[in-house]
């Protein structure tokens, strides 16, 4: 009896979260795909169903022949969509590089700090991450506005005479992404750098290697797993970002997350927004798989 309970318990450990994720994570993607193939309708819900699984196999085959790729054809015809995809990839790419430039020195400084200070520094990096994303983006509106605090400061310091126009431009979106995603990049790099054996660098320097060359030849390659994980953690969600381009970007800031949101909430065109989501997912499949592999490998090597 005891045995039976134990074997059931150990099976439940796998089955319960597995089924939950299948039902609430995987199945919804198939529904998105299905709806992306249906036509928009003036009804609630606003699409005409393509097929009904309860109707049996013949009905299923029958309805497959009625699949409509119109929504996808529509996406290729309206330049708005592919420009939004390209510009999302571009904005996310530039932001990832900028985040790396800002984040690496912070992670490096943390890893080289005295061991007693490190836990405090770590907490200081994590703390803003616990504060709401929306709040952190909102905070920048007051700073970047034409009459905002940054312009007030720069004019007071006589750096500029006329206020800079930053809010509602792509620059503001870059700042927003770098700011919001910085901890995601700092933490993996820090943990890679902290584990590193620093005597390697000392050995290189003793042998006459200049510090900068020693950094590029030893420190940076050893921190590379952290850099890669961090870049994925910034790039992938940034491509589909909605809040930052919506609040900080302007009308000319095209990002696919915003397009999808507008298609869904303003135009109420569920099939087209599903098609937008499917294409976005296809764009991200490669980076997501690479990220997942890198994570799994990191977990294996910890053991």
């Amino acid at each position: 009896m005891q045995r039976l309970i134990s074997s059931i318990a150990s099976r439940l450990v796998i089955v319960v979260p597995y089924i939950w994720l299948l039902v609430f994570f995987l199945v919804p993607f198939f529904i998105v795909f299905k709806i992306s193939l249906s036509e928009v309708a003036m009804a609630i819900p606003p699409y005409s169903p393509v097929f009904d699984l309860s109707a049996g196999w013949t009905a299923f085959k029958d309805s497959v022949s009625k699949f409509s790729w119109d929504n996808y054809i529509w996406l290729t015809q309206d330049p708005l969509y592919y420009r939004a995809y390209l510009s999302s990839l571009f904005i996310a790419g530039v932001s990832t590089v900028l985040t790396l430039l800002v984040g690496y020195p912070i992670a490096y400084g943390m890893a080289r700090a005295p061991a007693t200070v490190r836990p405090t520094l770590l907490m200081l990096v994590i703390l803003p991450f616990w504060t709401s994303f929306l709040i952190r983006v909102y905070a920048w509106i007051g700073i970047l506005k034409p009459e905002g605090l940054l312009n007030q400061f720069l004019m007071w310091a006589h750096v500029i005479d006329t206020p800079l126009n930053i809010l509602n431009t792509n620059t503001a979106v870059f700042i927003g992404i770098v700011y919001s995603y910085l901890p995601f990049l700092v933490l993996p790099i820090y943990s890679a750098l902290e584990k590193m054996d620093y005597s390697l660098v000392e050995a290189a320097e003793d042998l006459g290697c200049p510090p900068i060359a020693a950094f590029w030849k030893i420190t940076f390659p050893l921190s590379l797993p952290g850099v890669i994980a961090g870049c994925f953690l910034v790039f992938i969600p940034a491509v589909g970002e909605f809040v930052i381009p919506d609040l900080l970007g302007g009308s000319q800031t095209l990002m696919i997350g915003k397009t999808l949101w507008n298609e869904f909430f303003s135009n109420r065109d569920w099939p087209v927004s599903s098609a937008v989501a499917v294409i976005l997912l296809l764009l991200l499949v490669v980076p997501i798989v690479l990220f997942q592999r890198a994570e799994a490998r990191a977990q294996e090597s910890e053991k």
Partner: protein, 272 residues
């Protein structure tokens, strides 16, 4: 690691932390501003907090958010811990690759996709949208974060402790509750806190999955922000920041005390 602290390192830390904290500090300062204009300082005042507490729609939204957060974080912690156990303890089972993909993918999945797909699921099964659909959606994405946090603790766990307990006749279930859980508890607790704050923060997924009558605080703040920046939003944000900061500080102090206690126990054990 050698601990030379060069001037470059200190400078990059100072600049980095200034960048991280200055916007939040300014936001908090201007929530105490007398003026309706957020960017012009006109003297200290708490009137925006007073008006916030008389704003029924904010209070209703706060209640919805807290209920969703507490419930979804608790369920997500249970499911996420199970998921982490499955990932570390059972290295071979059918569909493990798919399982690990489903654990890691939500961490980076754009929120608009998760939100839209969840909504379409709820519509497909004819579920009324409201506080429960938001809760289900929050459980799903936050359980993956819990799983990752707990998993990172489990991989360094000393399995011989469990083996010892089972050799002495404990069943696997008893072993889990008496041996494994106490050891991984700090990770489970921080997983819960992470799930709670993720739920507290979420705007996009909540907007997709909510129905009439269920407005969360971020949704309320967002619709207000679209109308313009006001000190009242700053006040609401400051309260949220304060709650999270106090929570994180309490948790880290508790963690430290537990570590001190453990070190003391180990010393006592070594003396005997």
């Amino acid at each position: 690691m050698n601990t030379t602290w060069s001037r470059f390192n200190i400078a990059s830390l100072v600049v980095g932390f200034a960048f991280l904290y200055l916007p939040i500090v300014l936001l908090v300062i201007y929530s105490f501003n007398e003026s309706r204009l957020v960017t012009v300082w006109a003297g200290f005042s708490v009137k925006w907090y007073v008006s916030l507490f008389h704003n029924q729609s904010f209070i209703d939204a706060a209640w919805v958010t807290i209920r969703v957060g507490l419930f979804s974080a608790t369920v997500a912690t249970i499911l996420g811990t199970l998921g982490a156990l499955a990932m570390t303890r059972y290295t071979r089972f059918r569909g493990r690759l798919l399982f690990s993909a489903m654990i890691y993918a939500p961490l980076v999945m754009p929120e608009v996709i998760t939100g839209l797909s969840m909504l379409l699921l709820f519509v497909a099964v004819g579920m009324d949208r409201g506080i429960w659909t938001i809760t289900l959606a929050h459980i799903t994405f936050s359980m993956c974060f819990v799983a990752v946090v707990v998993q990172s603790r489990l991989v360094t766990f000393d399995r011989s402790l469990e083996e010892a307990a089972m050799d002495l006749g404990a069943t696997p279930v008893t072993t889990f509750f008496k041996v494994t859980l106490p050891v991984i508890l700090p990770a489970v607790v921080s997983g819960w806190m992470l799930a709670f704050t993720l739920s507290l923060d979420d705007l996009v997924i909540s907007s997709f999955t909510s129905g009439p009558g269920a407005t969360t605080l971020p949704m309320r703040i967002y619709s207000q922000v679209r109308l313009g920046v006001t000190p009242e939003i700053n006040a609401a944000c400051t309260i949220l920041i304060a709650i999270v900061t106090v929570g994180v500080i309490i948790a880290s102090i508790a963690n430290k005390q537990r570590e001190v206690q453990r070190a003391r126990d180990e010393q006592a054990a070594a003396r005997n």
